[in-house]
Amino acid sequence: MARFILMRLLQMIPVLLGVSFVVFISVYLVPGDVARTLLGYQASETAVQALREEMGLNRPMLVQYWIWLSDLLRLDLGFSGALRMPVAEVLGGKIVNSLVLMGFSLFLVVAIGFVLSTYAATRFRKLGDRLTVFATLVMASVPTFWLGILLLYVFSIQLQLFPISGMYDMYDPGGFWQLLHHATLPAVATAASAIAIVTRVSRSAMIDVNSRTYMRAIRSRGITPARVNYVHMVRNALPAFVNISGLQVGYLFGSAIFSEIIFNWPGIGLQLYNAILQRDAPMIQGCSLVIALTFVISNFLADLIVRMLDAGKR
């Protein structure tokens, strides 16, 4: 296991370098001078000249990348012209907020996905199964940004069950239950499509397990149907379930950006959106980099869990 972890960590190094290079190079897509793009249009000509010098813009691309990367390793992500603050400082506070939302969403994906797929698989081709399949079809086809608005309209504006925006109440902030209350709608909007996909794949995996001979052998030994379903079927379909849940994490990262915007959740996604509106290039780079890094790390963790569960690979 230690060997596997070490190998995976080593494999991550070139990928991380590549990711940082893509983020670095993306700012060159903007037509015009890079230093000017990074500083914004209100910056003075001397400041632009100074940055041009610092970045080594008249030196080869790889040298520029090296300068940028060494800054990055010192956690220097550049300076946000729009907020008049270092990018790293702004993002530091937002990462936790985004992770909280992601955590809630992932919990919903795993919990609801598990319950729905087990339910559907045990009622294969009965009404409950068909309804679940239909529900997942609809959920998988819903755009996050629209679902967010719809939930906001129905549950916050019409029924007034949930707050409209933010993480805490404006006047009396704090407390886990308050956070949960605020996080419910954005987490549901983020998780909906992923729940649908996890349910569909995991349902098929469970149905597949059920058709195997060893399951027939287990049944023929007179073990209660409940035990067959909830112990043997579920246990054997678990690696497939964890695998597909892990694959959904990337999707959740994308959806969370939209949820954060709709529900005004003070995370990286909302920051990214504001940076786009303000044409704040270093901030767009910083947000993209942080999201991509978190994604790479969570993929690594998902791989580890699958590996630990999968008896065949052990």
Partner: protein
């Protein structure tokens, strides 16, 4: 081509039916035999027709404003689905918006397949170049799909063309991997060995012999991802990175309605329903296309 000729020498037998059929035949048989696919096909046909014939179907121009009827809801006289914040007819904007959204969603899928098929074939054939290509793709996989599209579109600047480029770039790695895996399998099969033995030029092996057998893998992948790309394209426009106002596009209309959610919720809710309907159509159809294009499940469609 020998395979084309009907095996029908002398006696009449069941062999007559084993003539070569086009893929379209199998796709149609697949759709016809499955009511879910038929439902998806019907939804998509209707919406595509509405989009194509928008100038004749839409009761008003998508930019024509009736300022005194601003924000009027569903069922307003003369405006079936109400009006938006500028007093533009919602039904007309939705019909015209379908054009933009469908175009912006489908084009990147087609373009990325056109890039990924040669790329995947070359990568599978030349081990060293292939390694390099696939490692580059691995880097792009490290970005969540939506994030990469947002980042590229943000830096290239808003507009339909840039959005399509961004979405194409995002899709290429996935599509290339699909083609690469399919081509890897074909590479070790005996018909390719025979071609090599017959000193067929590599270019011909790849693009004449192998191509037809990897294309279906790419098409199957494309059909499963197309709904997702329609959503992402609308999402980019929603963020202001895609198609620009006043063009009617479902993502933009949803975004426009956000500020009026308290008193005119229909502006945001209707275009989202339209997107959902299209994506349901694609998802229903995708499952069947996967079966129709897979040679192993085709037989069941002939025997019907």
């Amino acid at each position: 081509m020998q395979a084309n000729a009907e095996v029908n020498i002398g006696a009449k037998g069941p062999e007559v039916r084993a003539k070569r059929r086009s893929s379209l035949y199998f796709i149609w048989q697949g759709i016809r035999s499955d009511r879910y696919a038929l439902a998806g096909f019907t939804i998509l046909t209707l919406i595509t027709l509405a989009a194509v014939f928008a100038p004749w179907l839409a009761p008003y121009s998508p930019t024509e404003a009736f300022p005194n009827l601003r924000l009027q809801g569903i069922g307003t006289e003369g405006h079936l689905l109400g009006l938006d914040h500028q007093g533009r007819d919602m039904l007309s904007r939705l019909i015209w918006g379908g054009r933009t959204t469908l175009f912006a969603g489908i084009t990147p899928v087609v373009l990325s397949a056109l890039i990924a098929i040669p790329l995947g074939l070359v990568a599978a054939w030349y081990a060293r170049t292939g390694g390099l290509i696939m490692r580059t793709m691995d880097v792009l996989f490290a970005f969540p799909m939506v994030l990469l599209a947002i980042m590229l579109a943000a830096f290239m600047g808003p507009g339909m063309t840039n959005m399509i480029i961004a979405l194409t770039v995002v899709l290429v790695p996935y599509n290339t991997r699909v083609v690469y895996v399919a081509a890897q399998q074909e590479k070790s099969s005996s018909y390719i060995e025979a071609s090599i033995a017959a000193a067929t030029p590599v270019r011909k092996i790849l693009f004449v012999e192998m191509l037809p057998n990897v294309v279906s893998a790419s098409i199957v992948y494309s059909t499963t991802v197309i709904g997702n790309i329609v959503i992402t394209a609308a999402g980019l426009s929603f963020l202001g990175l895609g198609v620009q106002p006043p063009t009617a596009e479902w993502g933009i209309i949803t975004s426009d309605g956000r500020q009026y959610i308290f008193n005119a919720a229909h502006i945001s809710i209707l275009p989202g329903l339209a997107i959902m309907l299209v994506v349901i159509g694609f998802n229903l159809l995708g499952d069947t296309l996967r079966d129709s294009l897979d040679p192993r499940t085709r037989l069941s469609l002939i025997r019907r």
